[in-house]
Amino acid sequence: MKVTALIVGSSLLGPLRRAEGEINRRHAAGLSVCAYNLGAPLAEGEWASVESDLCGSEIVFVIHVTDGENASRLIELLRRQGEPGRTVVVINCMPELMRQTRMGGLTFGAKGGLEGADGGGRARRLLKSVGSWMGGQARARRKGGGHGQYLRLVERMPALLRFVPNAGRLRDLKHYLYLFCYFLQPTPANVASMLLYALKHYGGERRLSDVKVPPPESVPAVGVYHPDAANIFESFEAYRRWYDARARRSGTQLLGPSKTVGLLLMRTNVVSGTRRHYDALVRAVEREGLAALPVISTFMDNRDACAQFFVEEGRPRVSQIVSLTGFSFVGGPAMNDSEAAVEFLKGLNVPLRSAVSLDVQTIEAWRESHTGLNPVQAGMQVAIPEIDGATEPFVYGGMPAEGVEPAALEERCVRVARRLRRWNRLQTEERRGLKVALVLFCFPPNKGNIGTAADLDVFPSLHEILTRLSADGYDVEVPADADALRERLLGGNSESFGAVANVAYRMNVEEYLRLCPYASEIEAEWGAAPGRINAFGRDLLIQGVRLGNAFAAVQPTFGYEGDPMRLLMSRGGAPHHGFAALYTYLEKVFGADAVVHVGTHGSLEFMPGKQVGLSGECWPDRLIGELPHVYLYSVNNPSEGSIARRRSYAGLVSYLTPPVEDAGLYRELASLKELLRAYRQSADERERESLYAAIEEKAGALHLSPE
């Protein structure tokens, strides 16, 4: 017997495989389950094998498919094959796919509602709402209908089913709803039951027709999950008792508002037991001395999970939120209500970070790809959460090519956790002890261009910033005025090194090789350190000025100057030693707690690497390392700004564009207009003629020949 499951995401494959084994072991059913992840468009070869598997399958499950291209190809395939005896169970897909459901006499009508069975009252209504759920989500903007419905279904569905008769014309309808019940609670046992139930009623195997299928087991709809706990905690208090007792035993961080990271987990992964990536991230967070509060996401609207678990009497219990759901904060997979999300998060005033699990591409594909995340993941898991204000789109885990459930990317989990700790330091430490790097640009690299930034007068801006930092309690030196600040940066010892700016630190090659873990890779591209850029003798020059606990630095350029061969390379290789040395210095010598890039824009975020969803081999990721990153960005440039957000984990702070005014007229242009006006107003032909002569003369001088 053969079942083909066309699914999306990382939570169902593991349980399906286990169910296949268990059913074969217990019932000798000779069952084979073929599964495909239809989250992103399949390649031609994959479609060929889907086609052949579909052909021999008695039962087909289609679950969660919302990718347009996959949906239309699948519909076409099912139509073309048109096997009358085959049962097709479509759950929670877009309406046109829902209509492909074939279970005995049951079909879905044009709007996903029920057709082909009369009567049935409550069951009919239930099926209708289940069938049109996905389409309804897209329409239910701001009403929150889809969300409430989901939670109600999770809790009440099994009870409701008792009212539906087993036989007669509602038989298939009841079976569909039963399968849906199992799907809503995809525990390993329920997934096995879902398969068995379908096989029993639609598999055509006599030996399974008398099998007793257990009723759906129930897991709380919301709660706190922890990898070390046996059960899900239904209340924060229960979790706190357990967590703090454990923390006291092991000497780890207790739950407390300033030291706790709230994590939002996908319910399906928690329930189905496919959560090793979550476990790894939770443990990494705890290893960094932070407490973890991982809660089951309320899917369509995370405000509920947050309000229930992350807030106590209006005060947050967490100081950072990491969403691992891969969806928008309010709205789930089919829409996003960012206004509602922002309103809520503003009230909470806790930063939202959104980390990415490779649920619709494999870890191996991601690793090999120069692109990083595929377009589906980049759109859904990065672009949409950004609109809610989510930052730092790290990939921390995903589906291995040869595995059945998600695995963690340990190195990435550590990076995410360390950055959370760094951010926490900014939240909790005395400001006088915090160090801030303020990085300026200089392009093309000559003294005149120090402070390059679109629309921004950088030195007065920097002066304003230092003044504010000082007022806020940071221990920074504020020069007398913007000019004095500029003099310090441009002048100083710069001439003696032939540098564009003052040299604040000379990092000798030995120190550089010791501190920069990627130096040997850079040497492969640029030759032995220090190289010729930002170098002096055996030293790499760090340009900038130290201002107490602030360091105003000048970022080197790509290093193309006077190097035509490098310009011609179609793929970038690595930043040069001088570039890497600056960020090495900031993190490891100066000891920055945060980096602020001042203005639109520099080169760090355009260094070679994946486009989005970076790995530890990508240069922007390596350069910014663990440092919290703030980027001051012109408000009229959301495109380059997004690259900074995605490739260097920057939080942007937008700045205003300069005043705009009508250009007006000047000199000869102004007098030409007067002549033209006089001509237009004059009724005297002789006057017009002489005006015209003057006009042509002036127009000629202004190069205004006819176009």
């Binding site: 806790v350 930063p351 179609s570 355009f606 001051l632 700004g641």
Partner: protein
């Protein structure tokens, strides 16, 4: 050229006067930045009448406000304002001036005395219903208030305290006033929402104008065009550039049941009413990153058009693909590649670096560099496959190059990226098609969705900014940075010579007169930022050396002197 005066009829003279009038007014009314921003400073004191008037010139459906210009025009019985600005007769200009004056007066009164007074004035003078005008002034009032305070330092302080920084959209203020207040975490858009209905509608007008413009000058519409697609305008306009590409191809976007743009379909030729246009899209690395799904859609659109059973003269995509295959140079698959960008994970054409660092001898090198950097094909199952031959072949039939510009805040001489892309592609076309393409830019953020040729746009930018005392005095008010800005404009203008030969010689001469030959001015520049002053002079000398202008010997001599004086001065400073 114009004929001698005595041969001209009165009508011709009148026409010429109105044409000049239009061009003078075009400069006069062009919005330009007049200075730089200082982070954290409110601009309460700044001149905002022109900005507010520009905001009021567009419908704002999000707050139920109609364009002030339309309200006035209609109340005066002149019909829609759109009609006035396309009417280039004496009567048209007079009607337009009347509306403009009413609007100007009421915005000024609003700034002095507030909403009630402005509404009353409009009602009295033009008969505009105060219920309508109030909505406009309420919006203007909000903007003015937001400009009067700054949340930028607070935003930075919040970020450094590890707090939530509210997200916000990014755009020109005129385009989308909800970019205010600043101090927020700017975001892009949902790629599946692109192009929006509005973007597709607006693209229709721009494409019509573009094709009409080309027809008027070349007798027929172009069969193949090169388009530059950026993330910038496509984010700010929800995909107008993308929509223009689809319109040129004669395709329309389709939304699925989850309201995502995931499919395209051809517009039948009888509905389209013209031939389709083949489009070669060179896409920025940023667009590629932000609009991955959109690139797939554009590739799909081209392939779909290539397979339509239509006559060659109406479907140049199909004709071009078939011709390449018939020549035996490549497969149909390869001949259909039209979406090109950088190698995955790599950005930019480097044409700007090569120009700014003077690392080129013949301009051909710039076109070749563009192709080298941009020859990676995107689309179904391609993922950025290197396809130099395919890009070169696709460019070989290009007759016109085009880029959508939706901003006056970021103009074609304000940044180096316009010349590296649009200039780069036009130089690449020149290399492969054997002739220079017509190059167009739209002014999408204007009431009449104008399309200009590149030389027209360079002249306009030069007159409105580089040579305009209002612009450069605004910059010089910022001292050191201001001089660097002026130098950067000159270099970006130079970039248009290098890549597209689109700059008249007089531009360099006027720049030299304004900034170098005027000794007082040169002294100011040298005092504020001798390094950038030196770069500016050096760039003018380079332009002369490369033959971009034929300078009088005396001018060259004075430039050389100025350069060596600046050198000495910089040495002396050291």
């Amino acid at each position: 050229m114009s004929r001698p005066r005595d041969e001209q009829s009165k009508e011709e003279r009148d026409r010429r006067v109105l044409e000049l009038w239009e061009r003078v007014v075009e400069v006069e009314q062009r919005l330009i930045p007049t200075g730089l921003h200082v982070f954290g400073r409110a601009s309460g004191e700044r001149e905002c009448a022109d900005l507010l008037r520009a905001v009021a010139s567009f419908d704002r459906p999000e707050c139920g406000a109609r364009a002030l210009h339309d309200l006035v025009s209609e109340a005066l019985g002149l019909g829609p304002y759109e009609r006035l600005i396309t009417d280039k007769t004496e009567a048209g200009w007079r009607a337009r001036a009347r509306v403009d004056e009413e609007v100007r007066a009421c915005v000024e009164l609003f700034l002095r005395e507030g909403t009630a007074a402005a509404c009353e004035l409009l009602q009295k003078e033009s008969g505009v219903d105060p219920a309508e005008s109030r909505k406009v002034f309420e919006l203007l009032g909000r903007i003015r208030e937001q400009l009067g305070t700054s949340g930028e330092l607070e935003g930075l302080a919040r970020a450094l305290r590890g707090e939530y920084v509210e997200p916000g959209p990014g755009a020109d203020i005129v385009q989308n006033p909800s970019v205010l207040p600043t101090g927020r975490n700017t975001h892009a858009v949902n790629p599946y929402a692109v192009p929006s209905h509005t973007a597709y509608e607006r693209a229709g007008r721009v494409v019509d104008t573009l094709l009409a413009r080309h027809r008027a000058e070349h007798g027929r519409q172009p069969r193949t065009m090169a388009l530059v697609l950026w993330g910038l305008d496509n984010i700010k306009t929800q995909g107008e550039g993308v929509a223009q590409a689809l319109r040129l191809l004669g395709m329309r976007p389709l939304r699925d049941s989850l309201n995502r743009v995931t499919e395209v379909e051809p517009i039948p030729l009888d509905q389209l009413g013209r031939a389709r246009v083949d489009v070669v899209m060179t896409v920025s690395g940023i667009f590629r990153d932000l609009f991955g799904a959109t690139m797939l859609l554009l590739d799909k659109a081209v392939r779909c058009v290539a397979e339509l059973d239509e006559p060659d003269e109406l479907n140049p995509v199909r004709a071009n693909v078939r011709a390449r295959v018939a020549e035996g140079v490549c497969t149909a698959e390869e001949a259909s590649l039209r979406v090109f960008s950088n190698a995955p994970g790599s950005y930019g054409t480097n044409v700007n670096f090569m120009v700014m660092d003077s690392q080129w001898e013949s301009a051909d090198a710039l076109g070749d560099l563009f192709v080298t950097r941009k020859c990676f094909a995107y689309g179904r199952a391609l993922e950025g496959r290197e396809a130099k031959g395919a890009l070169s072949r696709a460019l070989s039939s290009v007759e016109a190059a085009y880029q959508n510009v939706d901003s006056f805040e970021i103009g074609i001489t304000d940044v180096d990226h316009y010349f590296e892309y649009l200039g780069g592609v036009s130089k690449a076309v020149e290399r492969h098609a054997g002739g220079r393409p017509a190059v167009y830019l739209s002014d999408a953020l204007s009431r009449d969705a104008r399309v200009r040729t590149l030389p027209e746009m360079v002249r306009l930018e030069t007159r409105a900014k580089t040579l305009n005392p209002k612009w450069y005095e605004g910059m010089l008010g910022h001292g050191f940075r201001g001089v660097a800005e002026i130098e950067s404009h000159v270099t970006n203008t130079f970039g248009w010579s290098a890549t597209a030969d689109a700059v008249d010689g007089w531009v360099y001469e006027e720049v030299a007169r304004t900034y170098v030959l005027d000794e007082q001015m040169l002294e100011r520049l040298a005092r504020l930022n001798p390094h950038s002053a030196r770069s500016l002079v050096a760039r003018l000398l380079e332009a002369e050396g490369r033959g971009f202008w034929e300078a009088e010997a005396g001018i060259v001599e004075r430039l050389r002197e100025a350069f060596s004086d600046l050198e000495d001065r910089i040495e002396g400073v050291a």
